[in-house]
Amino acid sequence: MARSGYDRCSRPSEKPVGVFGCVIGASGAVIVTINPASIMQIRNFSIIAHIDHGKSTLADRLLQSTHAVSDREAREQFLDDMDLERERGITIKASAVTVKHMVDGEEFMLNFIDTPGHVDFSYEVSRALKACEGAVLVVDSTQGVEAQTVANAYLAIGQDLQLIPVVNKIDLPAAQPDEVAMEIEQILGLPAEDCIYCSAKTGEGIDELLNRICRDLPGPRPPETDKLRALIFDSHYDDYRGVVVYIRVFDGRLRVGDKIRMMGSGRTYFCTELGKYTPKPTKVAEMGPGETGYLIASIKTLADVRVGDTVTQDSNPAAKALEGYEEPKQMVFCDFYPSTTEGKGNSFEELRDAMERLALNDASFTYQPVHSEALGFGFRCGFLGLLHMDIIQERLEREGGVEVVQTAPTVTYQLELTSGEVLEVHNPADLPDPSTWRELKEPIVRTEIIVPREYVGDIMALCMARRGVFKSQTALSETRQMLTWEIPLAEIIYDFYDKLKSMTRGYATMDYEIIGFNPERLAKVDILINGAPVEALSFIAYRDTADKRARGLLVKLKKEIDRHQFEIPLQAAIGGKVIARETIKAMRKNVTAKCYGGDVSRKRKLLDKQKKGKAKMKSIGSVEVPQEAFMAVLDTGE
């Protein structure tokens, strides 16, 4: 039975072999257990990589090689189960899969904890890494070390994980495994000779990798107490079973039927099911130290589960919780409003329902109702980063079936009041009168940019223009450099990434991490249409470059607002002082040239449409402003 997979064992009399035991439950369901003595044969690890470097394919290949997934049922990228993830080539949700592997007759349990690969999800990566002792660092042999390779490797090293570097895709003609191994050594200090060359596609190097995972990665630390302490490292919402909580047991044992307590929130539940994804969900009766799996306990919403919390026994609780993770911090904000085009999926109620459904399986974004004079009722949402924002928008539209209008993103500012109180502000409209506050601070990120050498000058200029502070420059290889800058986040969310990509013909990669808040010369810029201030268009900007940004905004606004029968001044002002001005000339003519007998019906309908169009416009200072004007203006391009 040993190689045939846990879900196939059928005879209860069969003796447990290696790490795994097997019993048939009372209901006849297959239940997998672990021999308590075998903790040292458990390997908890993650695969970390830059986007598109082949992490998911490698994961699939590992599953296949351990026969956890048969060749027939091996669909590509088994661990990514959302369409969206598949399309964008990224993994959004971490999930844990348990497989086994034999090395020299010794059986190992491999708990493979999947992590997202993208810049925005370093928080999710970090919480997944907390449950691991090691990580496989994958680098594409045709691309080399990229920004997220570095960022993810730093995260893993920061948590004292053992790393196994893997140079992937060596089957491709453009592969340069030796050069890439040198880059890994150069930038991350992992000896080039330790790199495994592999091809997830052909299977080359996979066995070696599995063996190295078993031999080189450390086993779980021994338990420190016999009282239960299990770390929640992820959770997701399942329509049929409610919240599924991913846990890593560090100390003590957890059994089905136990009354458990979340040490942070104090909530208690009965554990109704424990299991592991093998990768099919497979129930187990209990879990002990070193083990990873899922827990179901009739938890209704994701909001009731704090990732990073410690699960213990209610009747025999641990004295101290495990070192927790931080709460996810939303750093990028934008508003979503229902689209005003007529049709299904365009009402506030539908948007609210979609938001609520989405919040059930993504606890890391926040939302609260807002009302905009221009766009009506909607939601102000907070995200971990820009990609996270894009994903939420797409999921709202795709899974929620709503059409949304999205405003330009802003960052979270820290506002220190004269009273000494510190407020968080992420909407320019919420900024109080300047006399009531002392200092406005903005979030600063440290960014690593990896770029071919010929573009270094351009990128330096770009970072400088975005108020960046240069930190360091490191040669990865003869042709590529890594630049480290500290830049205000507000400058990054404002088309920085697009600029970076276009300036380097797509070759540059970047990652960033928020390192703190700096007081800056910031000001709120008001936009006035025909003398009337429009709160929905105001923004916070760096004082010295505010006029340039304001001018760009006014030029766009001018294009979107139709001429009226009178001249319309458009102004941008800081505290009453006008810093930019544009004028929409008065309309000269609005009359259909030809209207004969056969045209009457159509022309009448056209005039009716003019009327309907007007109904959708917002009247500001007796100027009809179409919704498109707000959108075009909020579009962050220059």
Binding site: Q565, K589, S601, R604, K611
Partner: protein, 414 residues
């Protein structure tokens, strides 16, 4: 073939496949007639009229069907005050067919005293012989499609006639005894300057005409030219330049004795096109030929815009065309149409008639308030008995019409 030939016609009226029969029931004594001749030798890319280049000679069959339809319409017509034959290119119809058609019309319809009978002509296809036939058959007005006298701008419009032929065509009409002559001109053509447009107007004024139609080039949806504009192949005229050209047109033609009696139409005293006035005053007319539109008994409808379908339909139903876009009686729609069309006229709307219509729908107060507002802003004149655009108001006719229509359509409480 033009793409309008693909339009669906499966429309039902009173439970049947719609033909003019249902619409014409109860219609009597209509004094105006429109006849559509769809043939062209080239489909101009700005044109959205139903027309196409006929590769097979179907003119003979077309005429037989047209006569069948006219035979039916004659039963619903009174003494004709106006007839208008448009297209397409009616002058493309062969002279002997014209002779046949005109004779037949005389036979079946009663023509009122001084009936205005207009035929649209292409400067390239007219001959002295054709003009003779038209004049002899009672045609007393021609409208010649000149568009421009500048070869470069004609090429932009895909018009391939020689500019000199416009004058030649008008002379032929005059010599044949056709007393009233009009030209169509287009301005705001991409690349056209104000000076060039002024020269076009001067040239037109030097020709034997009593009527000029001057249209700002309009990008109608689904025309080849609009698609080219949308693809960015050229830029449309600047709004300010277009307004300048229009204002200059009113000025130049006005001082030459041509009064603006409709947004784009100018005529010497008494020479306004009576047939078109029927459209703008919301009076009744009948229509024959594919895509011809009619308005009678408070209804609007359009013959199917497809030559073979129209011919088959007319043959099958003994002279009734299959119809599309039928609109039944509707007082609110009629009011909106009165506002939209009446405001386009130099004479404007009769205030009393407007008040009566609006009051019967309970919306007069709302409409009146908007009228007063536009009078205050100088867009409408102060005359109490007329609701009439001022000189400046003409430039904003659509906006004002739309505004009054909104007022008419808003449900007034009580």
């Amino acid at each position: 073939m033009s793409q309008t030939e693909r339009q669906p016609t499966e429309l039902t009226l009173r439970g049947q496949r719609a033909t003019g029969e249902g619409a014409l029931r109860g219609v009597r004594g209509v004094g105006s007639l429109y006849v559509h001749v769809p043939f062209c030798f080239h489909k101009c890319h700005y044109c959205d009229f139903y027309s196409f280049v006929d590769s097979r000679d179907r003119q003979g069959v077309f005429l037989e069907r047209l006569k069948a339809e006219l035979g039916v319409l004659a039963g619903h017509a009174g003494a004709l005050r106006t007839v208008f034959v448009g297209g397409g290119t009616p002058s493309l119809l062969r002279a002997e067919l014209w002779e046949d058609l005109l004779g037949w019309l005389r036979e079946r319809f009663a023509f009122g005293e001084g009936c205005e009978f207009t035929v649209e002509c292409n400067p390239e296809t007219v001959t002295p012989e054709l003009m003779g036939v038209l004049a002899a058959g009672g045609v007393n007005r021609v409208s010649v499609g000149a568009q421009s006298f500048d070869r470069r701008h004609l090429a932009t419009l895909e018009r391939w006639h020689e500019p000199e032929n416009v004058g030649r065509a008008l002379a032929m009409a005059r010599d044949a005894g056709i007393e009233r002559r009009s030209l169509d001109l287009i301005f705001a053509i991409p690349g056209q300057t104000l000076g060039e447009w002024e020269r076009d107007l001067e040239t037109a004024l030097g020709l034997p005409v009593d009527h000029l139609s001057c249209y700002a080039l309009t990008y109608e949806p689904n025309t080849a030219m609009t698609k080219r504009l949308e693809r960015g192949e050229f830029a449309g005229a600047d709004e300010d330049l277009e307004a300048d050209m229009y204002e200059r047109t009113v000025e130049m033609l006005g001082s030459a004795g041509f009064e603006r009696y409709e947004v784009s139409n100018f005529a010497r005293s008494g020479m306004a096109c009576a047939h078109n006035m029927v459209y703008w005053r919301g009076e009744e007319w009948l229509a024959a030929g594919p895509s011809g539109s009619a308005h009678a008994g408070g209804q609007r409808w359009k013959n199917v815009p497809h030559l073979t379908e129209w011919m088959d339909g007319v043959a099958r139903s003994g002279g009734y065309s299959p119809i599309v876009d039928y609109e039944g009686q509707d007082a609110l729609r009629a009011l909106c149409e009165r506002i939209m069309l009446g405001l386009r006229l130099g004479e404007g709307l009769d205030a009393e008639d407007l008040q009566r219509r609006a009051a019967s729908l309970g919306v007069w107060e709302a409409v009146r308030m908007r009228i007063e507002a536009h009078r205050r802003s100088g867009m409408l004149t102060d005359e109490r008995e007329r609701v009439r655009l001022s000189g400046r108001g003409f430039l904003f006719a659509d906006g004002i019409a739309s505004d009054l229509m909104i007022a008419a359509q808003e449900k007034t409480p009580g």
